[in-house]
């Protein structure tokens, strides 16, 4: 069998009716399709990011209501810190959402489409890891410092006398968290996006192979 035989076999049933065995899609059905929601993997990631953002906003509102009702905060700076944290959280999710951005246009060559898509997905994963491994431990450290400051201001005391062994533990916990976050986020990202990324990379490598 050669490719010409294959071609003639293909052509033999190439009329649309023969190939589909169905009447095809009508205008109304096509109109419905173009008004539907995209169900690509990419769109699912973006939707999940939006859901996470809404949950964070709701949690923020919950904290504000709780703090007001229970009069938790005693210093004006505490409210300011809360707004800053809320703003940073929101900015993080907006950045995450926009970082996924528009899909690379599908009307370019397959090679270029795959390359762009891989680049964008890897960029998203790098951003995610940077935030988990870099930003979250920093916020944790800021929280510990805040505790000390609050203690000294509220009780009008000097900087608490903390033994060096406690500092050793605090730094140890921070570093362990960093390592654990790096490992956990790698596993999490691989599980969420790894299969998709591997498939895209495999296809691109095959395409580029001479």
């Amino acid at each position: 069998m050669d490719l010409d035989q294959l071609k003639s076999l293909w052509e033999a049933e190439n009329s649309f009716q023969a190939s589909t065995g169905s009447a095809g899609r009508g205008a109304e059905e096509i109109r419905k399709m173009i008004r539907s929601r995209s169900r690509t993997y990419w769109q699912k990631i973006r939707r999940n990011t939006l859901i996470e953002m809404v949950l964070v906003i709701l949690a923020m509102i919950g904290v504000v209501v709780f703090a007001r009702l229970q009069r938790v905060f005693v210093l004006p700076a505490e409210w300011q810190a809360l707004w800053i944290m809320g703003g940073l959280g929101l900015a993080f999710y907006l950045f995450k959402f926009f970082s996924l951005g528009q899909l690379p246009a599908s009307d370019q060559s397959i090679e270029s489409f795959l390359a762009q898509r891989i680049k964008r997905l890897k960029g998203y994963m790098r951003l995610y890891r940077f935030l988990v491994v870099g930003v979250v431990p920093l916020l944790g450290a800021a929280g510990v410092l805040y505790g000390f400051v609050r203690e000294s201001v509220v009780y009008d005391s000097v900087w608490p006398d903390i033994p060096s062994s406690t500092w050793f533990w605090v730094i140890g916990i921070m570093l362990s968290y960093g390592a654990l976050a790096a490992w956990g986020s790698t596993i999490y990202l691989k599980r969420l996006y790894g299969q998709h990324l591997n498939a895209l990379e495999k296809a691109l490598a095959e395409l580029d192979e001479a």
Partner: protein, 183 residues
């Protein structure tokens, strides 16, 4: 680099095209939907998956319609979008029927072919193509659809020489799979 400017672009949105453009687009899809069916047939397995892929391809064609502008051949443009959508769609677990599978061909194709010998050959042809990788399926589909090496190279984004090399490899693979059944 973590923060790249190219990531900070506007979120995807449906294009704001006029009613007339929508009408033209729908007519275009009605006329050329055979292309989408063929891509779905080779890239999606099972009725529901095929339906989903068909819809996604139409949606992506619509979203890219404003950039079409008649610059390329309709079929070239449609194959680009359809194949990009099909190749990059994540299927949970690709379930390809094996070569000797008795699973009926899509769209009741087998029942529509009167000659049992021909029906069997086509069955093997489809099953053999389904065994190929996603890239190989794209190349063989374009070849079987009478696209020139240059057109295939433009759609795939590789050189014409590379298209020739890949087609030869695909031919060897298909021959190995189909020949015993075509003797």
């Amino acid at each position: 680099m973590i923060f790249e400017k190219s990531y900070l672009i506007a979120p995807e949105a449906a294009p704001s095209l006029t009613k007339q453009e929508e009408h033209d687009f729908v007519a275009l899809i009605e006329t050329h939907q055979g292309i989408i069916h063929k891509v779905c047939r080779l890239y999606a397995f099972g009725k529901a998956e095929r339906e989903d892929l068909f819809q996604e391809i139409v949606l992506q064609l619509w979203r890219n319609y404003h950039s079409f502008g008649g610059k390329a051949k309709i079929s070239t443009w449609m194959y680009r979008v359809a194949l990009n959508t099909a190749i990059s769609a994540l299927r949970k677990k690709e379930r390809r029927p094996n070569l000797n599978s008795n699973e009926p061909l899509p769209f009741g194709l087998a029942e529509r072919i009167q000659d049992p010998d021909l029906a069997e050959k086509r069955q093997f042809l489809y099953r053999a193509i389904e065994q190929l990788s996603e890239i190989e399926r794209a190349i063989i589909l374009l070849y079987l659809e009478e696209h020139s090496y240059d057109e295939i190279s433009q759609i795939m984004g590789i050189t014409s020489n590379n298209v020739g090399v890949k087609l030869n490899r695909i031919k060897v693979k298909l021959k190995k799979k189909i020949s015993p059944h075509f003797e």
